[in-house]
Amino acid sequence: MTLPISPRLISFLVVTALGLAALLIMPMFLDSFSLLQATLFVAVAILALSQAFLWGYAGILSFGQAAFFGIGGYTYAVGVINFGDSTGAIALSMVIPAAVAALLGYFMFYGRISDAYVGVITLTVTTILYELSNSTSGDQYRIGSAQLGGFNGMPGLAPFNLPGQPDQWLDEKGTWYVAMGALLLIYILLRGLLSTWFGRVVVAIRENETRAMLVGYDVRFYKLVAFSISGGIAGLGGCIYAAWGGFVNPSVFALSMSAQAIVSVLVGGIGTLVGAIAGAVIIQALINLSGTQSIIDPSLGIGIILVVFVILVPQGLLPSISALVSKLKPKPAPQRLGHETQEVKP
């Protein structure tokens, strides 16, 4: 008897194997500079993953993932300066954004505001945080021994260190292992979460909130939890970003950061996790590329990519490739009973 292996399980195993290969092989072939660049790609990929989970699976379009990304970055900065150790700072950079997301989510979802206003509120909160962080340039704006620094931000942050050993700093390779390992782990955990009853309910709510309520689910609670998880993931992205650059400033709260996450998901395809990772890598590569020229502004470039994808590849890269592959494959005989979750939106 052969055990049935679903296409989703195959794709999960392939992506995990590729991620593991990238984790182990890239440090062997890339020089320090390229590996640092790759770490930046991972940080924005984690941000995109938070957006992909929230938007593609929970159906909540947040225009403010940069808020949690930025809070994660600042939390790491404040934590590592005060503790002198990155271990607790990394943990807090997930916990604090998740808690802020839970608080914000409580008012949004239990206040029963419409989806459009969720977008408006998340956008507004990000803008407020941007302005707030810009206005912290005085000596009085400090948390413990960490001075927030206003427009100039917080430079000279310590990189990651071995857990509990603040003197053992990680080099580019070590930082890469932590960052890429985190991306891979988040991907695996999200896939796992989506295959549980909780994931099924979250996707069901995206499909039809009223029906989900009528079968007995408190939609507000599930949205709140999904929003909080997404905030924690974005926060970890911000933490890696801060550790990568050794600094954090108000630009982490910039609207272009939120836009980058949204466009990454659109490019990769809504309703896939790996698509968002691919989209984030493509967008960040184009931003880096546009930095070497002065003809097109990077933000304008992102806008052009968005328009091109919406018109030419509206489903995004991964779903389009997947549709093409299934068209080319010979059709299997009809199944009598199938238990697989189809989570891709029609």
Binding site: V203, L214, D218, G338, T341
Partner: protein
């Protein structure tokens, strides 16, 4: 000992601005009862269903389910008490498979293999096993109605509300639906809203007639359907 009714709605009034959709309705339903609600379009039947399921909170009056006040309860709280509803327009998870639609409802109460077993049984019961892996959004209207009925059944509710279950179905499907409702009613209470009088005759014992938001008449199906006032409201004449 006094038996507590399954549903006890007292003096229910629902106003939307200046429009009164439901007017001073008193309604009780006993355990395991099958009741049909009829009435012309706009009579307030679907609004009354929304009040019973918590989708609307009445402007006045009180609703109780087995003695528990549900007047201001949320839809998920009422569902958890044991009320399931198939709405007038198919209300399903279009992007999920038939199996997963039903599983989402079943797993609210049951876990793992037990939930899956219930889903398989329910799908067999409503003859959807053959299309279990199809996306619901790709199905025809009639099939989507069956998916919704299967979803409600897998909730294992004590009271099932069916809003126009036979709408858009062919004669064979209508007959099957009537049989299914009678079978369901062996273990669960059912309230059916329907326009099709032939269908009502197939299933009903007691009928409540709604007209202009109020209960016009209630009683035995034959007596009600031969009542001149009922004929008048269906013909568009003003009720006496």
């Amino acid at each position: 000992m006094t038996l507590v009714p399954l549903i006890d709605a007292k003096s229910i009034t629902m106003r939307f601005g200046g429009v009164t959709a439901v007017r001073n309705v008193n309604f009780t339903l006993a355990e395991s009862e099958l009741r049909c609600l009829i009435g012309p379009n706009g009579a307030g039947k679907s609004t009354f269903f929304k009040i019973l399921t918590g989708q609307l909170h009445p402007t006045e009056g009180r609703v109780a389910f087995r003695g528990t006040d549900t007047t201001r309860a949320e839809p998920h709280e009422i569902a958890r008490l044991g009320v399931g509803i198939k709405t007038q327009v198919p209300n399903v998870f279009d992007g999920l498979t038939v199996f997963d639609n039903v599983l989402v409802a079943a797993q609210r109460k049951r876990t793992g293999p037990t939930a899956r077993k219930i889903v398989e049984e329910v799908l067999e019961r409503v003859r959807l096993t053959g299309i279990a892996s199809r996306l619901v959004g790709q199905l025809a209207h009639g099939q989507r109605q069956w998916v919704e009925i299967a979803t409600v059944l897998s909730q294992e509710p004590d009271l099932i509300l069916l809003d126009e279950p036979a709408a858009g179905m062919n004669n064979e499907e209508v007959r099957r639906t009537a049989e299914l409702i009678k079978e369901i009613n062996k273990t669960q209470a059912v309230i059916v809203v329907e326009h099709d009088m032939a269908f009502i005759r197939m299933i009903a014992k007691t009928v409540t007639v709604f007209a202009q938001g109020a209960v016009l008449v209630e009683g035995n199906v034959d007596a009600v359907l031969s009542d001149q006032r009922v004929r008048d409201v269906y013909l568009g004449r003003t009720a006496a």
